[in-house]
Amino acid sequence: MVSIELLVQQIINGLFFGGQLALLAVGFTLIWGVARVLNFAHGGVFMMGAYIGAFAIIATDNWLIAIFLGMTVTFLIGLGTEAFLIRPLRGRQEFDIAAIIATLGLWFTLEHSMRLLFTSQQRSVNPITREIWIIQDIVINVNRLLVFLISIFAIGLLFMLIKYTKFGLAVRAAAEDDQTTELMGVDLPRTYAITFGISTALAGLAGVLLGPIFSVYPSVGDRPFLLAFIVVMIGGLGSVRGTLIAALTLAVIRAVALIWTSAEGAMIILFAFMAAVLILSPEGIGGWLES
C-alpha cells in the first residue's frame, strides 16, 4: 500500500511540474491555433533558453538578467523562424505538413549546433534558492514553487494579452478566419511573426527556469517537448484553456503513475491516452468543453 505522504508528495511534485509544462504547452498550442504551425522546434527553443539562462547566471548570478536575455533571444528565434522558414511555405497546398518538416529540420539544427559548440556534457546551474520547507513530512522545494508561480504568472499575462489588447483581438480574429482578418486591415504577417515570437519566448522562459532542475545539455528539450505535445493534443489544439487544464492534470497523473512505473511506462500510459483522445475527439478536451 502506498502511504498517504508519498501520494500527497507526488501530487504536489506533479502540480509544480504541470505549471512548467503548461508554459511550454501554451506557446505550442497558441502558434497552432493562430498560424496552423505545429512547431516541432519548440523543444529546441526550450533548450536554447536553458543554455542562455545558464550562461547568464554563471556570468552575472542575476535571475532577472537571465530571464530577460533568455526570453529576448528566443523571441528573436521565433520571429526569424516565422519570417525565413514558415512564411515562404505559406500558400502551399500541404502547408501544415511542410511546416512540420521545416520545424523538424530546425529542431535538429538547433540541437546539433549546440552539441557542436558546447559538447553533450551536462551543465548544472544554481537554482534561485536552495531552501526547502518541510510541512508534516512533505517536502516542498522552494525553487520549484517559485518556478511554478512564475510560470502561472506568465500564462496569466498571456491570457490578459489575448483577451484585453488590440493585438490580442487581432490574434483571436486570425485564429478564427485569417482572410477576413486581413480584409479588416490587420497586418497578418506581422501578427503571425509576433505570435510566433511570444510562443517561443514562453518556451525560452520555461528553459531558463527549468535549467537548474534538469541541468542543461543539447537534448534537454526532447522529453519536456514530448510531454507538452501530449498535453496539447489532449487539451485540444489551439485551446489555451484546455491546454492549461490538461497540463496540470496530466502532470499529476504522471507523477502518481511514477510511484508504480518507470518514466517510459508513464510515457506509454500518456501516449495511449493521447491516441485515444485523438481517435475519439480530434479537437481534444478543449474542443469537447466548448461544444
Binding site: R36, I97, I101, G105, E264, M274, A275, P282
Partner: protein, 335 residues
C-alpha cells in the same frame, strides 16, 4: 480475374516499363541495379557494410514514400514499424529456431499485424492529425522496446541471435539486394496500376475519389499495411546486417532521418526515395570523419529541401535553374 485481364495488365506494365526505361531515371536505375551486382567484387569489409546498409535504407525509404507520397499519409510510425520488424526477425530466429531467410518475411507479417490497428484508427484523420497520432504510436512502441526487458533486452538491445549465411557478408549482400530489388519492383508495379492511381486521387481529394465510386478507406488501409509490411521486412534485414537491435533503431531521430532521405529525393516517386537515400546517406558517410556533429547536416538538409526543392531532387532540374538564377541575381544586386 481471367487470362484476358491478366494479359491486359501485363501489357500495360510492359508498355510502361518500355517507356520508362528510355528516360534518364530509368536508365540510371537499370545501370545502378547492374552495378549493384558487382559491388562485392570491388568493395569489401566496411565498404560492403555501407553498401548493404544503403540497400536496406532504400527499401525502407521507398516504402515510406509509397505511403506518404501516394496517399499523402505523413506517417511517423514507419521507423517504429521498421524496428518491430527487426525485433521480430531476431526473436523468431533466436527463440523459435526459424531459419534466418524465412524469419525476415515472417517479420514483415508481424509488422503488418502491428500496422493494421494503426491504419484503422488513421482512416478518418487528415494532414497534421495523422502526424500527431502516428507520433503517439511510434513513442508507445519505442517506450515499450525499452521497458519490455524480457522480450526486447531493454535499453541495451537484443543481440546474440543467429548469424545469417554463416557470417558471409557477401552472401548477405546478395540476399539483401535481391529482396530489396523485388520489393521495390513490387511497389512500383502497385504504384503504376489502378491501386496507385486511386491512391494519388485520394491524396489530391479524398471526396472526389469517393465520388468516383472508390472505397477510399479500403485503399488507404491496404496501402498503409502494405508499406508497413515492406518496412518490417527492411527491419528484419537490418537486424541481420548490424546483428544487434536496440531502441534507438526505432526512435524519432531515426524517423526524421528516413523522412530527410525521402523528402530530399522526392516524396512523390519511388525513384525519388532511391535517389534521396543515396545522396543523403552517401553524404553522411562522406562526413563520417567529422563525428557526431554531422547530424547537424540532417537538419540543414531538411530545411533546404523543404524550402527550395519541395518536390525533391528527382524533378528539380527546372527548380535548380531558378535557384541558380536567383543566386546570380542576388550576386548582381550586391554590386
Amino acid at each position: 480475374m481471367n487470362v484476358d485481364t491478366l494479359s491486359i495488365l501485363f501489357n500495360r506494365v510492359w508498355d510502361d516499363v518500355k517507356v520508362k526505361l528510355r528516360t534518364t531515371t530509368g536508365k540510371a536505375i537499370t545501370v545502378g541495379f547492374l552495378l549493384a551486382f558487382v559491388v562485392p567484387l570491388i568493395a569489401g569489409g566496411y565498404q560492403l557494410n555501407v553498401a548493404t546498409q544503403a540497400l536496406i535504407f532504400i527499401l525502407v525509404v521507398t516504402s515510406w514514400n509509397f505511403i506518404a507520397g501516394n496517399f499523402g499519409i505523413l506517417t511517423f510510425a514507419h521507423a517504429a514499424l521498421f524496428g518491430v520488424g527487426g525485433y521480430s526477425a531476431a526473436i523468431l530466429a533466436a527463440e523459435f529456431g526459424i531459419p534466418v531467410v524465412v524469419s525476415v518475411f515472417l517479420a514483415g507479417l508481424v509488422t503488418a499485424a502491428f500496422s493494421l490497428p494503426m491504419a484503422v484508427s488513421l482512416l478518418h484523420l487528415r494532414g497534421a492529425y495523422v502526424a500527431m497520432l502516428t507520433i503517439a504510436y511510434a513513442e508507445i512502441i519505442f517506450s515499450a522496446s525499452v521497458i519490455l526487458r524480457d522480450i526486447t533486452g531493454g535499453p541495451t538491445g537484443y543481440s546474440g541471435f543467429p548469424v545469417p549465411f554463416g557470417g558471409d557478408r557477401v552472401l548477405l549482400y546478395y540476399f539483401v539486394l535481391i529482396v530489396v530489388a523485388v520489393l521495390v519492383a513490387l511497389q512500383y508495379l502497385v504504384s503504376i496500376n489502378r491501386f496507385g492511381l486511386v491512391a494519388r486521387a485520394i491524396r489530391e481529394s479524398e471526396e472526389a475519389a469517393q465520388m468516383l465510386g472508390n472505397n477510399t478507406r479500403r485503399y488507404k488501409l491496404a496501402g498503409f499495411v502494405f508499406g508497413s509490411t515492406v518496412a518490417g521486412i527492411a527491419g528484419g534485414l537490418q537486424a541481420y546486417n548490424i546483428r544487434i537491435i536496440s531502441p534507438p533503431v526505432l526512435g524519432l531521430e531515426r524517423m526524421i532521418e528516413f523522412m530527410a532521405m525521402g523528402i530530399v529525393g522526392g516524396i512523390r516517386s519511388l525513384s525519388g526515395g532511391i535517389l534521396g537515400t543515396l545522396v543523403v546517406y552517401g553524404l553522411m558517410e562522406v562526413l563520417r570523419p567529422i563525428g557526431a556533429s554531422r547530424l547537424l547536416v540532417w537538419g540543414i538538409v531538411l530545411i533546404v529541401a523543404i524550402l527550395y526543392f519541395p518536390n525533391g531532387l528527382i524533378v528539380s532540374k527546372k527548380q535548380l535553374g531558378s535557384v541558380r538564377n536567383r543566386a546570380v541575381e542576388w550576386i548582381w544586386d550586391l554590386f
